[in-house]
Amino acid sequence: MTIHAVPPAATIPEAPLLSRESLAERLPGLQRSVFLLCLGFCGDPGEARDLAQETFLRALSRPRRLAPDALRPWLLRIARNACIDRERRRRIRRLFMPRVFEGERDQADPEHRHMRNEDIDRVRRAVDTLPRNLREVLVLREYGELNYREIAAMLGLKEGTVMSRLHRARAAVLRLIREENHGQST
């Protein structure tokens, strides 16, 4: 009878604690990802820049134990939360100061507004019209460039749910754009 020795359970090394300094060194490489995700949520490059800055500020204020490949999803989660917080504040402002809010939208980053073409505006309007649960998945995929697994982990969903919502979001955007095109042509 052969007795096989049971190997000791593999010890998982603890993820290194990222000091503020080491985090600050790695963040510049993730600026693009964070900025584009914020752009997807807010639709305005100037505001996206502010949100990206806020994201990095929040990240620097809370060093974490992170595996090397977990830094990007962690940072994008912070960015998503910053965007949600801003959207919540805008909704409250819109409720109590609707005129001020309208002026704010019209003046949002005028330097960039004239550079956007009609196609971008059309897609932007369609995305903004989506229900929140669909818009979020679409933005994380198309702007944040996250894969299904990462999106599922961030939102606490199953991958199948993510795929389903993404499909519905794309179909809704296409339908809205077709309706707008049809409306313009008639």
Partner: protein
């Protein structure tokens, strides 16, 4: 149907990619050193603000306690009451007199005394008529006090309660 959707989506995907490229190309690099400074401010300012508020609150409390406690009014400073009759009655008070009366009530409260319930020490207040015997001015009773100070909101509430 899904293939059609995927093909149509390619065009939208291209538009989104163009939007991303354009926005990123126009965005100046973030200055993360600015974030370090803001972070230091965020770490320092809230505790400083809390400390400042605490110091101010304690300081104001001490100030009002120290400056108010131990003050005494002389009869000359309190021309509040009429003279010449057993029943002391209130006359319309001037703004200065009202202010003095409010301050008096406030000081009594600070000294732990209830101006609506307690009597004033003899000679401390009110009736400056030398014809009225001293014992009649001792311990002005509650009703008399209320008659004199009914315009003080705190005393009104005492009456109602």
């Amino acid at each position: 149907m899904d293939n059609l959707l995927d093909r149509e989506w390619e065009a939208i995907h291209g538009v989104i990619a163009a939007e991303k490229s354009r926005a990123w190309a126009q965005m100046p690099p973030l200055d993360l050193s600015k974030d370090q400074k803001r972070l230091r401010s965020r770490r320092i300012i809230p505790p400083l603000a809390v400390a400042a508020v605490l110091v101010l609150a304690v300081g104001m409390g001490l100030f009002f306690t120290v400056t108010r406690r131990g003050e005494r009014l002389t009869l000359d400073q309190l021309p509040l009451f009429t003279t010449g009759s057993d029943a002391v009655h209130a006359e319309p008070l001037s703004p200065n007199e009202r202010e003095l009366g409010e301050r008096l009530a406030g000081w009594m409260v600070l000294a732990g005394r209830d101006p609506a319930r307690e009597s004033f020490p003899s000679g401390w207040l009110l009736n400056s008529d030398p014809e009225v015997p001293q014992e009649k001015t001792d311990g002005a009773d509650r009703e008399t006090l209320l008659e004199r100070f009914l315009w003080l909101p705190a005393l009104d509430q005492e009456v109602e309660s």
